[in-house]
């Protein structure tokens, strides 16, 4: 017993020493700030986007949406038990997928446009073929022991999931089996984002940490701290060198991957609502963050200033997305509507 306690104490001491070492290394490169660097950049001025379309059709809270790679179709998920695939140019509904479980929390479009996936409190990620005559269940990925909070396709044969069981997982859709399990978070995983080269992904969790992972090796490569509550939303900056997070602590943060630390925060003393979702414009200059205060606030990513707001929803904005061509923003809300702005 005494020997075990001694070993435990030695390990704890080593942990503390390593943490101190990491903080010192971060401090050593912290020779400037984003605000200092962006002093020379022109301000973006007031960003006033107009509401172009309101998509009506869901009968209950919308929890998630995801753009297709074609920047035209979009899929939304509601706790009315349906996924709806929309043609955003016409506002028409193209496909309705009835869900076995109405408690959906996440939805994803495969890059090919052939498949969509969803999951939630059923702990299962279900993949559907929407090109068939009527939507056909392709796979039920059932191994998580907690809710499915987020899913993203790498291709028609691989998908990543994040779960309330604190793990993320890479699945093989041909076999329906887990390929890699990513363990390191100590709180529910709430969100994930895939890098454009698909070699890495980032996850945000209720342990208030964001982690960068190697997709193939399963290793956690970097950990980012600073938030004081659950991270609900996470996204890559378009260059792939930074990560933006949104949290229940009412702030968003940008972490640079190469400097291994937070470089700027986005907060406002008048903004006391949690961040539910976020998306970036194609240059990365604008951050669209959905909040519990029914609005989507727009931030200048370089200067850390609020530059606009998308108002119009009658309840929490639960999901936000910018399509690949950057031509607009979609917000989805607990008010059951999706809105398109540009």
């Amino acid at each position: 017993m005494a020997a075990e306690k001694a070993e435990m104490d030695a390990l704890k001491k080593e942990c503390d020493a390593l943490r101190t070492q990491i903080e010192a290394a971060r401090k050593a490169v912290n020779d400037s700030s984003m605000s200092a660097a962006s002093g020379g950049a022109t301000a973006v001025g007031r960003v006033q986007l107009k509401l172009r379309k309101t998509l009506k059709g869901h009968l209950a809270k919308i929890y998630a949406m995801h753009w297709s790679a074609d920047s035209r179709q979009m899929v939304s998920a509601s706790q009315d038990g349906k996924l709806l695939v929309w043609d955003t140019f016409t506002g028409n509904k193209l496909v309705a997928v009835p869900l076995k479980s109405a408690w959906v929390m996440s939805v994803a479009f495969a890059p090919s446009g052939n498949l969509v996936a969803s999951g939630g409190l059923d702990n299962i990620c279900t993949v559907y073929n929407i090109k068939a005559a009527s939507p056909k269940t392709l796979r039920e990925l059932d191994a998580h022991t907690g809710y499915l909070s987020c899913c993203r396709f790498l291709s028609d044969t691989e998908i990543l999931t994040a779960s309330g069981d604190t793990t993320c997982c890479l699945w093989d859709l041909e076999t329906g089996k887990q390929k890699v399990i990513f363990t390191n978070h100590i709180g529910d995983c709430m969100s994930l984002a895939l890098s454009s080269d698909m070699n890495t992904f980032i996850s945000g969790a209720c342990d208030s940490l964001a982690k960068l992972w190697d997709v193939r090796e399963g290793a956690c490569k970097q950990t980012f701290s600073g938030h004081t509550s659950d991270i609900n939303a996470i996204s890559f900056f378009p260059s792939g060198n930074a990560v933006i997070t949104g949290s229940d602590d009412c702030t968003c943060k940008m972490y640079d991957l190469r400097a291994d630390q937070e470089v700027i925060g986005y907060q406002d003393t008048n903004l006391n609502a949690g961040v539910t979702s976020l998306a970036l414009s194609s240059s990365g200059r604008l951050i669209f963050a959905g909040y519990d205060d029914f609005n989507c606030h727009i931030w200048d990513s370089l200067k850390g200033e609020k530059v606009g707001v998308l108002s119009g929803h009658d309840n929490r904005v639960s999901c936000t997305g910018v399509p690949a061509d950057g031509m607009g923003v979609c917000t989805g809300s607990w008010d059951s509507f999706l809105k398109l702005w540009n």
Partner: protein, 68 residues
């Protein structure tokens, strides 16, 4: 005995921290400059920054043309 599983778990934490401690870090001034440069280089191609005409706007309700 829960003691040894705690030790195994703790060893994993130490291993992870050792790995994270070992990475190379770039100066924040360089990182920030690169992020800023990316934004500025891509600003003209960012439709949400530059705006667009209604004929280019995929979400604008299409006006129907008819021959009178």
């Amino acid at each position: 005995m829960s003691g040894s599983t705690n030790i195994i778990a703790m060893k994993k934490v130490v291993q992870q921290l050792r790995f994270e401690a070992g990475i190379n870090r770039v100066k924040v001034s360089q990182a920030a400059a690169d992020l800023q440069q990316f934004c500025l280089q891509n600003a003209q191609q960012d439709p949400l920054l530059t705006g667009m005409s209604s004929s280019n706007n995929p979400f604008r309700p299409q006006k129907v043309c008819s021959f009178l």
